[in-house]
């Protein structure tokens, strides 16, 4: 690393953030070579590993031993360092919080040659700024976090259909004790069917849930079918008709009821299709993920879904999720309320729609997830992240503002 501090740097893990967080005006540090597991304590489930260790490796190697990450995002192809920098949340956020809640400590390179150990008792300001800090408060070198014990490599999944948004939210509230919950929304449903969705609950299965012949091998896993999108789809392939058909089909396929499913297709359905993003063609796509506080969720979500349905831009993927309490991370995304995540093809029309969604989100007191964002305006960020000033103060205090820069931080003045 250049120690004079002249060249700004930004760390990059597995480059799975959706926007401009992992590159910038200066150098990009590829962290994937820093990928050693330092220690694992089989009594407590505490793991220490370098920042570039892949979550997919942790899952592949530790699930058969009865341990699972406490929080997992929707893809397993992320690094541990990236999970801290994004303070990722999963389908269990309402109970488990975000990944930072399970991090005990980490070692952080401050860019002046020094390395600080950060935890809830040591360098607390750096700990709070770095969880969710998008890599702008130093380079995470190594982290210690707690895994959770599991009794099998399967999930007992229960799917319930919700004919509209109110019904979906009622299901979430009634299922607040379930370990995992998420809803797939058909974004093109309108009127009385607005928010039509399949709400999917899940709990780690115990061997008792298995057929008697499978009980002796609770960690055995079927080899997943690996599919791949071999080429960029042409732009016309994705239109209102095809997305509508896909959504109808998907909604139908989510048959109500309980069934045992493997961990990987449950948590990472898109990981099974390599290069899935190519269905969006050369122009690519943008993701939009907002969270609305509980009090304004019902009206705010209805307004968002109405606007999306009215615009008629196809959103392939629309995911609704109840989140738990706000995290300690100064720039952490989650709020107690509901989060809606959407994919759109990156067209001019989409960007117009997203500006209108921003207005609704802001009006409802919500905010956007930096890890998914590629286009929000600075004013939107400043109006929605109340601890932004404290984050900026930490950046100033440690001389990070010139040292650690990404296209994201330049765009938003972080």
């Amino acid at each position: 690393m250049d120690r004079t501090g002249d060249t700004p740097v930004i760390a990059r893990g597995a480059a799975r953030s959706y926007g401009d967080a992992s590159f910038g005006p200066g150098l990009t540090l590829d962290m994937r070579r820093l990928d050693h597991v330092t220690a694992f304590d089989a009594a407590s489930g505490v793991m220490t590993c370098e920042a570039g260790v892949l979550l997919s490796d942790v899952i592949r190697l530790w699930t058969p031993r009865g341990w699972f990450p406490p929080v997992t995002p929707g893809t397993k192809f992320v690094t541990i360092g990236g999970m801290i920098a994004s303070d990722v949340h999963g389908k269990n956020h309402h109970l488990a919080g975000s990944f930072g809640d399970h991090v005990i400590s980490f070692r952080l390179a401050l860019g002046d040659g020094s390395v600080a150990t950060c935890s809830r008792t040591e360098n607390v300001d750096l700990f709070e700024a770095t969880c969710g800090g998008m890599g702008l408060t130093g380079v995470i070198l190594e982290a210690t976090f707690r895994m959770i014990p599991v009794r099998s490599a399967r999930i007992m999944q229960e799917t319930q259909r919700a004919p509209n948004l109110a019904a979906a939210m009622d299901l979430f509230e009634a299922g607040s004790e379930r370990t995992y919950s998420v809803a797939w929304i058909d974004c093109l449903a309108t009127g009385a069917e607005l928010g039509r969705s399949a709400v999917i609950f899940g709990d780690h299965a115990s061997p008792d849930d298995f057929d008697s012949d499978a009980r002796s091998a609770p960690f055995s896993r079927r080899t997943p079918n690996k599919r791949r999108i071999p080429l960029d789809f042409p732009g016309f392939a994705l239109n209102r008709a095809s997305v509508s058909a896909f959504n109808k089909l998907y909604y139908k396929r989510q048959a109500p009821g309980r069934r045992l499913v493997d961990l990987e297709p449950y948590f990472y359905p898109l990981d099974a299709i390599q290069d899935w993003n190519r269905i969006y063609g050369q122009r690519g796509f943008v993701q939009y993920q907002c969270v609305l506080p509980l009090a304004t969720s019902r009206d705010g979500l209805a307004a968002l879904l109405t606007e999306i349905a009215r615009a008629g831009d196809p959103s392939f993927l629309a995911v609704l999720k109840r989140l738990g309490r706000e995290s300690f991370g100064l720039l952490s995304f989650p709020l107690e309320g509901y989060t809606l995540a959407l994919d759109f093809p990156a067209t001019d029309r989409t960007f117009g729609l997203l500006d209108r969604l921003d207005d609704i989100t802001l009006e409802a007191g919500g905010r956007l997830y930096l890890t998914k964002d590629a286009r929000m305006r600075r004013a939107m960020l400043e109006a929605s992240y109340p601890r932004l000033d404290r984050f900026r103060a930490v950046r100033e205090q440690y001389g990070f503002t010139t040292r650690f820069r990404s296209a994201l931080s330049d765009r938003l003045g972080l």
Binding site: H36, V37, T38, D57, L61
Partner: protein, 245 residues
């Protein structure tokens, strides 16, 4: 193979060596990592034992030190599988004018590995079992102007492995020659390599694992290289000497 068969990786700091260590450890094999500055390998030792719950250790090793006898005397036991990964690409232009550099490439790719493997072979023959793997190169299949110092050393190593295989075939000792082709590693970082011909280190490791378990002799990691090198070898010398390959 019995699952407790230990594996010695000679040149364990390289990307290929590391991938091979992880792959064999992932199948439950105890691992000994050997490289220069072995103390730096402690993170790899911890990593391998944490990930795969196998015994792992590190030992000082320099392929060109001529100390093979001493090296194997210092090991607590003779490993069941020995993988020679050590190698040095060097810079052809420099090698043509700097004899020390050329000698270093020759020693690291041929004489050094050969001397170590002669010692391994002698000890495995005495024991009556074992497997020897040499990571050679397609560059050894025919000398070309772009890298013939490296290529000739690999040609020597390939010929050595071939002869050693012949020599030990009747003694129940397997000798495998791995020819990776282009591999995306630190050694080739910054080079423009055609993706269809370039393997990841893990592919080399997977090929090595398959070769040892299946009892293969000579393996091209990506089979397209077998065809490419067959064509290159088939070009008449009269024409070949005028080509820019």
């Amino acid at each position: 193979m019995v699952t407790n068969q230990s594996v010695l990786i000679l040149g364990a700091r390289s990307d290929i060596g590391r991938a091979i260590a992880h792959t064999f450890a992932g199948h439950g094999r105890p691992i000994v990592l050997a490289a220069r500055r072995a103390a730096d390998l402690n993170v790899d030792v911890a990593d391998i034992s944490a990930r795969y719950q196998v015994a792992a250790s590190a030992i000082e090793f320099d392929v060109i030190d001529g100390g093979a006898t001493r090296f194997f005397d210092s090991l607590p036991e003779l490993p069941d599988v020995v993988v020679m990964v050590a190698g040095l690409l060097g810079d052809q232009a420099v090698n043509e004018v700097d004899q020390d550099a050329a000698m270093r490439v020759m020693a690291t790719n041929y004489t050094g590995p050969a001397c170590y493997l002669l010692e391994v072979a002698r000890r495995m023959e005495a024991r009556g079992s074992g497997a020897i793997v040499g990571i050679s190169s397609v560059a050894g299949d025919r000398g070309r102007r772009s890298n013939f110092v490296y290529g000739s050393a690999k040609a020597g190593f390939t010929a050595f492995l071939s002869g050693l295989r012949n020599r030990l075939a009747a003694q129940n000792i397997q000798v495998v020659t791995i020819k990776p082709g282009f591999v995306a590693t630190r050694m080739t970082a910054g080079m423009k390599l055609p993706p269809a011909l370039t393997a990841a280190p893990q592919e080399v490791a997977d090929a090595t694992w398959r070769a040892v378990t299946k009892g293969s002799d000579v393996v091209y990691v990506r089979s397209v290289w077998r065809l490419i090198m067959w064509i290159i070898r088939s070009i008449p010398e009269r024409l070949f000497k005028r080509l820019s390959l």
